[in-house]
């Protein structure tokens, strides 16, 4: 249905136009001395991109994010698999992650700063505590919810326990594990930015804090705009990969 696709695309563009237009107008009124217009902000963004400050800043910001997400992914998936496969480990460990999932872990940041100082370690830790619970709980839940009929199938065709874990449970759980990773990355972004704003201003957090202090609001808005845009684009990319990678994995169980 090309016409339907056109309509949806046109509406998306219209919706973007309305929002940015409203931003522009609000900046002209202005609603606040600290509210630059959309075009001014984009100009500032262009300037920072041209002189390279933006890319240097992102190099700085993304480092704790990448390291933290990598650690959380490896450790989180391993823990999640173990929790899903072993009832005693589930009993022992999952309450911690259930509490972590519900708790405002950001409150731990002052403590992390006290223990690990204001360097990279603390920031990586912040990313990890934000990203880990959802990865662990998604993995464990996915393993636990493997359809019992395909596990029975594996047993009846003489699969050994390692066979059933490697060839049935893990492939069957992988779409949910992956979406847990995506949510982990999303939480990791929150953690990375929080770390830069709260612990020490570096990277994009530095641009935001510094331009606020000298009242260069267009630059401040531009930096915020760019980090949100980056996060959203990256998460959408992950979602796209997810949809392609596991196409049909979630269908086909149904006995229709």
């Amino acid at each position: 249905m090309p016409s339907a696709i056109n309509r949806s695309l046109a509406l998306k563009l219209l919706s973007i136009f309305i929002v940015f237009g409203a931003w522009e107008i609000a900046g002209h009124i202005p609603v606040s001395y600290a509210f630059p217009t959309f075009l001014d902000s984009m100009q500032a963004l262009g300037r920072m991109a041209m002189d390279g400050t933006l890319f240097v800043a992102y190099g700085e910001t993304l480092r704790p994010l990448v390291v933290g997400v990598a650690i959380s992914a490896v450790l989180g998936i391993a823990l999640g698999l173990w929790i899903g496969l072993s009832s005693w480990f589930d009993w022992l460990v999952s309450p911690i992650f259930i509490v972590m999932q519900a708790a405002p872990l950001a409150a731990l940041i002052p403590l992390l700063v006290m223990v690990y100082g204001i360097g990279l370690t603390s920031k990586v830790f912040v990313v990890c505590i934000m990203a880990m619970p959802v990865i662990v709980l998604n993995t464990a839940g996915a393993v636990r919810n493997t359809p019992s009929s395909i596990i029975e199938m594996g047993r009846s065709f003489l699969g050994t326990r390692p066979d059933i874990i490697l060839r049935i449970i893990i492939p069957s759980a992988s779409p949910i594990i992956f979406s847990g990773l995506r949510l982990g990355v999303s939480a990791g972004f929150i953690g990375a930015i929080l770390a830069e704003l709260k612990i020490t201003p570096t990277g994009v957090g530095d641009i935001i804090t510094y331009s606020r202090s000298i009242a260069d609001y267009p630059s401040m808005y531009a930096a915020i705009f760019s980090i949100i845009l980056l996060a959203v684009l990256f998460l959408n990319l992950l979602e796209l990969i997810e949809a392609n990678l596991f196409e049909g994995n979630n269908r086909g169980y149904a006995s229709d």
């Binding site: 919706s15 940041i109 606020r212 959203v232």
Partner: protein, 250 residues
Amino acid sequence: MTVFGVRLPGMSSLILWGLLWELVGRSGFSFFVPPLSEVVTTLFAVIGTPAFLNALGQTAYAFFMGVLAAIVIGIPVGIMMGKNRLLDELLLPWVNIFLSAPLTALVPVLMVLFGFGMRAIIITTTLFAIWIIILNARAGVMQINRSLIDMARSFGATPLDAFFKVYCWAALPEILGGVRIGIIRAVKGVIIGQLLISIVGFGALFELYSNNFMMGHFWAVLIVLFAMAFTISELLAHLERRVSYYAAKR
């Protein structure tokens, strides 16, 4: 988990972790980890102090105002999106963006626009909670069984009747699910807001304790905070299970 035929309750392993904490604390492993017993003693000492009650009151106020705003705005917007295709197509991309965007980055903007105070924190809280509430209310309305709507119309329900007697109830389980997740996010939002603005509520308290290295106090407040967050989330999950008993049977 069963041991010798006795089923151990779900969260009982936390007792074991508490014991471990006590042992680690007593071994003098780290200055930053005082024994749990000491933390608990401090907890009871701290809990009645004006500083604590003040922080709690401010946090609770910001939290409730933020959640209230998120619910009051979020549910009607979500229902309208579910019913009106044009509105849906215009708003949905933005709802999805803000659902996954790192909203922490917006806090500095809120600070310069609304000042370093309560208002910015309330708006942060609302921003954390509202998107999932909208999305779930929308999903709830959209999944309503077509034949249920036809039934209402064929029995001559007025649009207003249909809205309040059919739509609201049929979408209720999803709406409540959204409110539950929204509230859990709001708890995180209110704390993040306070930490970044850090002159009110628990944010100020944490600042005070960590600057003076009062580890017992720090942990005590942390435990209270986590326990409250966990209780809220379990309570809501329990309520949701009670209300959405019919969700599975549609």
